[in-house]
């Protein structure tokens, strides 16, 4: 054991964001169990008008990466609509933390599961149990179903039993289910082999306008928004015309004395991660609403 963690993961472990019980939560998801070594309770609160998640908090029993994954996830979901939040994969959580050690990937999977459980609770969906997805239990030590194993294999393109254990814990106890995991793995790999990956379009390396917009959205989502939200602010992407990115600053940011400073910082971020030709134009807040 050592500090095999990225600086960002360490930061989220040492200074976890949004810890605690959310008294007025719309949804609460509980996953994991102490017997299995980690447990997570995730709370979300949404704005009924916009459908966006306004608050998210967590409580974790677990190791450094389990705490950091949950902390990261709260930052990632705040400001998103529930549908957007549900599209977050465990890999997104890992990427947000600049990576999670392979053998700890199950921590990120637990984060995603807790979010899904919280949303399900909010929507009043009946789940068989908070801790388990439907399906047949394959790993009895950690209560892992075939559905969960299949999903982890597909979403993360896993190829070995060891990886499946890293991502789901399945097979990490007594080990008797490893043959069954291998069968599932072979079945999914066989399917994947039969469906060859689509050929990349010619000139795919070029930064098309479509790709640029996607990249800008991603940068704002993962790099810019979390920082602004820490200070009670937020950002709306309004439009992209060529290299001009139109955004609105909302919340505390809108009237903030340091808005000019913030604008420069956002532009630097976009230039660094998208294209060095990006120029930021700040629209008055509310413009985003007007456009809808």
């Amino acid at each position: 054991m050592a500090w095999n963690y990225s600086e960002k993961l360490k930061d989220h472990f040492l200074h976890p964001r949004n810890v605690g019980v959310l008294e007025d939560a719309d949804g609460k998801g509980e996953v994991g169990s102490v017997a299995c070594g980690d447990a997570l309770t995730f709370y979300i609160k949404t704005d009924p008008q916009t459908g966006r998640i306004t608050k998210a908090t967590f409580q974790t029993f677990g190791c450094g990466s389990a705490i950091a994954s949950a902390s990261a996830l709260t930052e990632m979901v705040i400001g998103k609509t529930v549908e957007e939040a549900l599209r977050i994969t465990n890999q997104d959580i890992a990427d947000y933390l600049d990576g999670i050690p392979q053998e700890k990937m199950h921590c990120s999977v637990m984060g995603r599961e807790a979010l899904e459980a919280a949303v399900a609770a909010m929507r009043g969906e009946k789940r068989t149990a908070d801790t388990h997805e439907e399906g047949k239990i394959v790993c009895h030590c950690f209560g892992v179903t075939d559905r969960k194993i299949e999903r982890a294999i597909r979403e993360n393109k896993l190829t070995t039993v060891e990886q499946v254990t890293n991502y789901t814990k399945a097979g990490g106890g007594c080990g008797t289910c490893q043959a069954e995991i291998e069968e599932i793995l072979n079945r999914v790999l066989e399917e994947r082999r039969r469906q060859p990956a689509p050929r990349p379009a010619p000139g795919a390396a070029r930064l098309t306008q479509l790709k640029k917009i996607a990249l800008i959205q991603e940068t704002i989502e993962h790099e810019v928004r979390p920082v602004l939200q820490k200070d009670g602010g937020d950002i709306e992407l309004i439009d992209v015309e060529g290299d001009t990115v139109r955004v609105a600053l909302v919340g505390h940011c809108a009237g903030c004395m340091a808005a000019g400073f913030t604008t420069g910082w956002i532009q630097d971020k976009l230039r660094e991660l998208v294209s060095d030709r990006i120029a930021i134009v700040i629209e008055p807040s509310g413009a985003a609403e007007a456009q809808r």
């Binding site: 472990f13 102490v34 070594g37 974790t60 677990g62 239990i137 209560g143 254990t165 814990k169």
Partner: protein
């Protein structure tokens, strides 16, 4: 800043005197003890002197009963495999569920090769089930191997009694004394133990040197087959700097043995009692009397061990944990599970292991930092006295059992 090192059951600092003693053999005195010329041959005397120093620490009848090896694991493997080969008509091996992997992994390997292996259990205090052990003994038993002291909890086993029990059925008795040597008095002259394994780096010698004591007259089959070294009992050119270091460390340990029993024990108790006074919902793992003087294994309920270790590391304190996240597997310590420590405590276990180089100031620093660290993690945890850990096994609709040993 110098770290506060409370992980001496993992490894220890090389004592300055030990380093001094070994350095000439890394510099100018590099001769091979098997050489005919004086430059090499003289080195053989230093090797023999180290053998005498170690024999003295163990109270061995003769230095020839000491065999130098590369580590504790090699000693353990050599002893057990030797007995099984020397008594090949006996196909049973008896050990415990709380051994070090050096023995447990070998047991697993032997099982696959067709040997009958019995792993005797322990009670909630980590004490060995002697009734179970007695029942397992039979004329088929080749060797009984039980650690002298457990590395995780420090619990000390009644090796003399166990050795006599093994002899009643004509079996050999080996003890993995890696954690005991230098910490508790050992007098093999007045003992029934046939073989004993030890490791240099647990008693302030460097890594890469170990030893196996083989009582004179014990049937022995070598593990490493090669040259005539170690009286044909272990091939391979001697690790001279390591052997000299182990000799020096043994002599130091002999001089400091009383200190381990008094000063180190006092520091350990200061730490353990301080933790129990300052932090609620803590238990001590392992029998509090029948224990090494330097080890304290405590569990903090509602929190996880790796997280504790990382926060301790932040303030320069080194310890270790039996939590799943630090065991290199997904399951908590096999020792704590064998003892039946509930999962909620097993995952939050921390082992502090002291040495004579620790000070009262260091212990007080730990006592100042630790309550804050535990409180901080408990704040993040969904569990507390008000929200106890649910009984997973009772409520689990999927029927998952939780990890088993």
């Amino acid at each position: 800043m110098k770290p506060i090192y409370l992980d001496n059951n993992a490894t220890t600092a090389v004592a300055p005197e030990v380093l001094e003693a070994m350095l000439p053999f890394l510099r100018e005195r590099y001769g091979n003890p098997s050489s005919i010329h004086a430059f090499g041959g003289d080195v053989a005397r230093d090797v023999e002197r180290a053998r005498e120093q170690l024999a003295a620490l163990l109270g061995a009848e003769s230095p020839t009963e000491i065999l130098f090896t590369s580590c504790g694991t090699e000693s353990d493997n050599t002893a057990i495999l030797s007995a099984l080969e020397a008594y090949s008509e006996r196909r049973q091996f008896i050990t415990t569920r709380v051994e070090h992997p050096a023995v447990l992994s070998l047991a697993h390997h032997l099982e696959r090769k067709g040997y009958e292996v019995v792993r005797v259990g322990v009670d909630r205090d980590g004490l060995l089930d002697l009734v179970e052990l007695r029942a397992a003994l039979s004329p088929r038993t080749a060797i009984v191997s039980v650690m002298w002291a457990n590395n995780e909890t420090g619990v000390v086993f009644p090796v003399e009694e166990l050795a006599r029990m093994a002899h009643e059925v004509g079996a050999l008795f080996h003890t993995d004394a890696v954690q005991a040597v230098g910490k508790i008095p050992i007098d093999l002259r007045r003992s029934a133990i046939d073989m004993l394994s030890l490791s240099g780096h647990k008693l302030h010698a460097p890594k890469g040197i170990g030893a196996l004591y083989i009582r004179r007259g014990t049937k022995f089959r070598p593990f490493l087959i090669g040259g005539h070294q170690e009286r044909n009992r272990r091939g391979g050119t001697e690790n001279v700097p390591g052997i000299v270091a182990l000799g020096a460390a043994a002599e130091l340990a002999r001089r400091h043995l009383t200190e381990e029993q008094t000063a180190v024990r006092a520091l350990r108790d200061r730490l353990e009692n301080g933790i129990l006074e300052r932090i609620p919902d803590v238990i001590v793992n392992g029998h509090r009397e029948r224990r090494l003087p330097n080890t304290s294994n405590v569990s903090f309920e509602f929190v996880e061990g790796e997280a504790i270790l990382l926060l301790l590391d932040q303030v320069g304190i080194c310890a270790s944990s039996g939590s799943a996240c630090t065991s290199g597997s997904l399951e908590p310590s096999h020792v704590l599970r064998a003892m039946g420590v509930p999962f909620t405590y097993a995952h939050g276990s921390i082992r502090f292991s002291l040495s004579r180089y620790n000070t009262a100031e260091e212990i007080d620093r730990v006592l100042a930092e630790l309550p804050r660290i535990i409180a901080r993690l408990r704040e993040i945890s969904p569990f507390s006295r008000a929200h106890p850990v649910p009984d997973c096994a009772a409520t689990c609709p999927a029927g998952c059992r939780g990890p088993k040993e």
